[in-house]
Each structure stands twice: as structure tokens, then as C-alpha cells.
Symmetry: C2
Subunit: 371 residues, 2 copies
């Protein structure tokens, strides 16, 4: 976060900064979604939807789950939230009593820890490495699960590593959580941004899983603040009560736009192909510069690289290259503590020209190191 602020400062001062630190699509929202929003604006409906969402959107998402994953989800289980941030605030508020815990992978999405703490819970970091594709495994879950543990979170594809969990592992992780009396929370926000593989929905394996997704990444709709969470029947009432109190409802216009987004398949494919081109370029270029990519990422728009050949202090290294060559990437410590000083995250949610420029700048800067 501080690094991002510094990058913006340098930019404001006239420097050209290559932004490979940002986890936000560089694409604007698809035109067909914008068209739908224009129409919704003119409808005169600027009122609250029900707390759980516009029923037409809940139904559209239910249909989409049938088509996309072949799973049947009743629309009432699909709760529309202000982004996935809203989804996580909601499920932790509904699920966790003070002192209860949730298992998270380290490295992992840093806000998770804060969502859990704000709900009075305790985040438990589980170190993960290449041997499990940087994901929780059934064995790790058994090892770290305690009496007050309520859930384990899988981010698939992973932020920061871009790796997918294997189908077998996902199935077994779901079964393990259920057997231990808790929930699998599957963060599927990067679904649809996969290259060569398809990410599986946790509901394909366990109807009791809690699935979080949203329109921010695949559909390039970050500023619309619109996501959803699918919960088991038994949690609907508790979630509805929390929603009535803490959000009232997700933005009405965004909910109309989201219905159109579910049909914007061609736009999504165009963006996916662009990300993949960038990914392939970086996967070739980075190892030559000394960045070791231990597991090839097949999803999201992230590459998690081992920098131990270059530095033993990833954080200082990130600040150095920002100040010296204007390339912004994220140090491992933003995602946890486990081997954090030896890793960085590259985001390729920025255009090819900038990515090439960033690589060229790094090549020049690192010449003495990798030589």
C-alpha cells in the first residue's frame, strides 16, 4: 500500500511508472454492460433492492451456475453483496463468534485477515509452498484445525500465486472441512481468468461449501462494487439479518448492469486472451532476469516469483526498483510471512507496452546481478 502511494507520487512528479503491483483489471467495463446501465438509469428505479439482492440477478446467477459449472443452486442461496469485500464481511459476521478461527493460506490475500479480525475472529496462517501448488491441502487443514475453527479459505486461482488447486485436492479439502464440522470458503473471484485449465467451482464437490465471487475481475467491473456469496440453506437467515443491518443492499444500478454482464461472454474472452498473452511473455522473460517461477501460474493475473537468486530482502528490492527504474511490483510480505522475503508478485493487469517496458528496465538494472 505504501509502495503504491509512492508509485503514485513519483507519477504525479512526472515519472513514467510501470504498474505491475495493482490487482485491478486495466480494461474498462464491456460496452454491452454500459448499455444496460444506461437503460437502467432511464428506468427511474433508483430504490433499494431487497437486502439479499434483485431477484432477477439472483436468478440470472443461478442460471449461470448451471451453464458454467453444471450445478444447481437455488436463487435464494445467492446473496448479492457490495463486491466480494461485502461478501467476506457478511459471512464472517454471520459465521464467527468472538475467538473462533479461520484457516488461511500464507501467502494469501491480505484483507482476509482483517475481515476475520473485524468480526472478532482469529485468522490462522497456514504456510503453503509449491508442493501443494500454494494451496491448503487436506493434510494441512487437519494439522491446523482446532476446536474453535469454523472454516478454511481457498482462493482459487490464488492471489498472489495465480495457481489453481487440483480438482482432487479441492474435493478432499471440501470433504475434510465438512468432516471437521466446518465450512470450506471458496474464493472464486478469479474464475474465468484461467489459461489452459478451467477452475472448478467448490459446489461441484460439496453443496455445503460457501462460494464467493463477483464481477470485479473477469468482467472488469471493480468500481461497480458488485459480488455475491452462495451459502448453504442453514446460513441464509443469519446472513439476511446481517445484510439488512450492515449494507441495506448492494448498489441498484450495478445489479442491473451485472445481469447484462453475465451475457458478455465475448468481451470476457477478449480480455482473457490479452491477459494470457502478457502471462506467456512474462513467464518467458522473468526467469532470464533471475526471477524463478517454481509453479507455472494458470490463472488470475499474477505471477509469484522467487527472488532468492537476486536478493535476500524482497521488500527493499521492490523499493529499490521503484525508485531507480520506476517499476512497481509487490513484495511477498504483503501476502504473509512464510518465505516472504524471498518472493515478489508481478501483476499483469497492465498493457503489453508497459509490461515490455518494465521488463526492459529490469533487465538493464539487473544486468550485473544476473550476469
Amino acid at each position: 500500500m505504501q509502495l503504491l502511494e509512492r508509485a503514485k507520487q513519483l507519477e504525479a512528479a512526472g515519472r513514467r511508472i510501470v504498474h505491475m503491483e495493482i490487482g485491478e483489471p486495466d480494461f474498462s467495463t464491456p460496452a454491452s454492460v454500459i448499455d444496460a446501465a444506461h437503460a437502467a438509469l432511464d428506468s427511474g428505479d433508483s430504490f433499494y433492492t431487497p437486502s439479499t439482492g434483485n431477484p432477477a440477478l439472483q436468478q440470472a446467477i443461478a442460471r449461470w451456475y448451471r451453464e458454467e459449472y453444471g450445478v444447481d443452486v437455488s436463487p435464494e442461496r445467492i446473496l448479492i453483496t457490495p463486491g466480494t469485500s461485502g461478501a467476506f464481511s457478511l459471512i464472517y459476521a454471520a459465521l464467527i463468534e468472538a475467538g473462533e478461527s479461520v484457516l488461511l493460506s500464507d501467502p494469501g490475500y491480505p484483507c482476509q485477515r482483517n475481515f476475520i479480525r473485524l468480526a472478532g475472529g482469529e485468522p490462522v496462517s497456514v504456510p503453503v509452498g509449491p508442493e501443494t501448488l500454494y494451496h491448503l491441502s487436506p493434510g494441512l487443514i487437519e494439522q491446523y484445525w482446532q476446536s474453535g475453527t469454523r472454516a478454511a479459505v481457498v482462493i482459487n486461482p490464488s492471489n498472489p500465486t495465480g495457481t489453481l488447486i487440483s480438482d482432487d485436492a479441492l474435493q478432499q479439502v471440501a470433504a475434510t472441512c465438512r468432516r471437521l464440522g466446518g465450512y470450506l470458503i471458496s474464493d472464486e473471484i478469479y474464475h474465468g481468468l484461467t489459461y489452459g485449465l478451467k477452475a472448478r467451482c467448490a459446489l461441484e464437490f460439496d453443496d455445503n461449501a460457501i462460494v464467493v465471487n463477483g464481477f470485479s475481475k473477469r468482467w472488469a467491473m471493480t468500481g461497480w462494487r458488485i459480488g455475491w456469496v452462495i451459502v448453504p440453506e442453514e446460513l441464509i437467515d443469519a446472513c439476511r439479518r446481517v445484510m439488512q443491518n450492515i449494507f441495506i443492499a448492494a448498489p441498484t444500478l450495478s445489479q442491473y448492469a451485472a445481469i447484462a454482464a453475465l451475457r458478455a461472454t465475448d468481451d470476457c474472452e477478449r480480455m482473457r486472451l490479452a491477459y494470457d498473452e502478457r502471462r506467456r511473455y512474462l513467464l518467458e522473460a522473468l526467469p532470464e532476469l533471475g526471477f524463478d517461477i517454481v509453479v507455472q501460474p494458470q490463472g488470475a493475473f499474477y505471477i509469484y516469483a522467487n527472488v532468492e537468486r537476486i536478493t535476500d530482502d524482497a521488500k527493499s528490492f521492490c523499493w529499490e526498483i521503484l525508485e531507480n527504474v520506476g517499476v512497481a511490483i509487490t513484495p511477498g510480505e504483503d501476502f504473509g510471512t512464510y518465505r516472504a522475503a524471498g518472493h515478489v508478485r508481478f501483476s499483469y493487469a497492465t498493457g503489453m507496452d508497459d509490461i515490455r517496458l518494465g521488463v526492459a528496465r529490469l533487465r538493464e538494472w539487473l544486468q550485473p546481478v544476473s550476469a
Copy 2:
């Protein structure tokens, strides 16, 4: 809430229901705001704003405070939130440690209690009556304040009573909170919806007050989910950290629309005059039916009526009139416990035709009672 659901059920079954239970404007968002939203949609900016909001909106609100109240607020102190719900989640998360308390009036806005509990705090209900215009007073604050108390909340104009706090009382309440080492939280969401008086901003009396407001009520923009909170300098950093984690940011499009809303003065005045007509009609009609209005409400779109001449069980009474004559109003118990069984809330956020119909239906139903 259950009553609202039942009202919708009856409506779905073909009954015409008069909705005087709903706290949402019946007006659509002003046309000039819709126009601005169309333009923003076409700009291609669908990205996150900074967590604390679009700087142009922060600046526009700062200007508005100078014009509206004559107070100087630096834009960085104005944090843009997803509705006032977001503002309350934010400030309680930033302000309260587990077990600390916040003083609330009873009757008062029911979600407040839940916001505070979700942040691990303890809401303390302070019974208020006509003698303080249903507001916290300096004496009540002194009486209920404890070592772990962090703040007292004034909703001005009040929900559910529609009453304004006096200027003197507001000034003294602010001074008392400060002297006791805590904050006044002034909920000003119904500002601009006042009839004959102007509501004063707490910042006119105390630069250290926390002020919450938003576009939902005065500007008829509920579904846009856009509000703000003004915090003292010393809280900005803590709030920013919470915002980065729990919201990321308020909806981008709504933030553009909000800039235009601040200029939609004529539209706001048109709506205000319509509310006032309804208010004056009800203030005349209700007492004749047996509803005693002890303090004339001069703000919001609510009338809080004493029903002790009619019933000793306001809740059953509300259900009875819903089922029998299709008029929905809210029982006192939705706003607290103090003398709750003797009070109901009428909302006049519904059209004159419906209000007349509701009064006619009540007159017929209550004939034997008031005769």
C-alpha cells in the same frame, strides 16, 4: 421487518397496501443526477476510486459545507462511504475496542445497535422523551457515560420522531462528549428535510464531532449507496486503513453522480415541499383519530405518535390494522423498548393519495375507539 414482509405478501396477493412503514423516499433520483450518471458511464472510468473517495467529490462536499453551514472542512477529513451504513461500520470499526460502549437514544434508529455490536462494542440505550425533544441531553450523557464509553450518537432530525435537537442542546451535547473524553457522532442524514427550521451541523459547534451524512434521503438516492463521514484529523489514518480493507471504495459511478447531486437544489426543494404538505396533512388528521403527537416533528419524514388512547399494545395494533385495513405503520418496539408499546411511527415517504387513503381507512376502523 416482519411487518414489511407481510405487507408485501398481502400486496402480492392483490391487496392495496398503504405503505407508511417505509423509511425510503418515494421519489426517483433527480433528472440532473441521472444525466450526470449517463455522462460518467460514457467516460470509461469504471475503476476503483481511492478508498477515501474520489477527490473531486471530497472537494465538492467541502465546498458544500462552506455554503450550507459556513464551516470549513478540509477535503481529506471527508471520507466517502457506501451509504451511511458504510459510514457507521467504518467509524465503529475504527473507534471501538471490544467491550467499549456508545450511547444511543431510545427510541432511535435500530441498526445502530447492530453496527456497534458487530464492531465488538456495547450499545447503551438512553431513554428519551418529549422533555428533551426525544434527544440525548447533556445531563443524560453525563448520567450514562462510563469509563469505556467512546461516543454518543445524536440523530438530528431524529428517526423515528422527526424532531430536531435545539441548537443549545446540540452545542452542550458536543461540549459534554468532548469534556468526557469521547466523540459526538451526529447523524445528519435527514438534514435538508426540515420544515420551518434549519438543522445545524454539529461541526458548527465542535470541530471534533464526527458527522455522518449521505445522498439517500434528501437527494432520493438510496439505491446508489453513497454517503460520507467527516472525522477529526486524528482518526483519518485509522479510518483509511479500515476502508482499504472492508470496502475498498464506494461505487465509482455513484460518486460521479453525487457531485451533480450537490447542485440539484431545485429538485431537493420540490421534494421537501411535497413532504411538508404530507406532514401538515397528517399532523392535522392523526390527532383526530386518537394518535397524540406530543412534540410536533419538524424534520425527516416521520411522525412519532402516542397511541395510548387507542391501545396498550402498539405492536398488535400495527398488525391488526395491516391485516384489517391494509395500512402499514411501524410499532414503537422497532426503535427500542422505552414506552415502545405506547407508540407508533408514521412515515410520509409515500404519495398524498395513499396517505389520504390510509387516513380514511384508519378513520373507519377506529370510529368505535375514538367515538
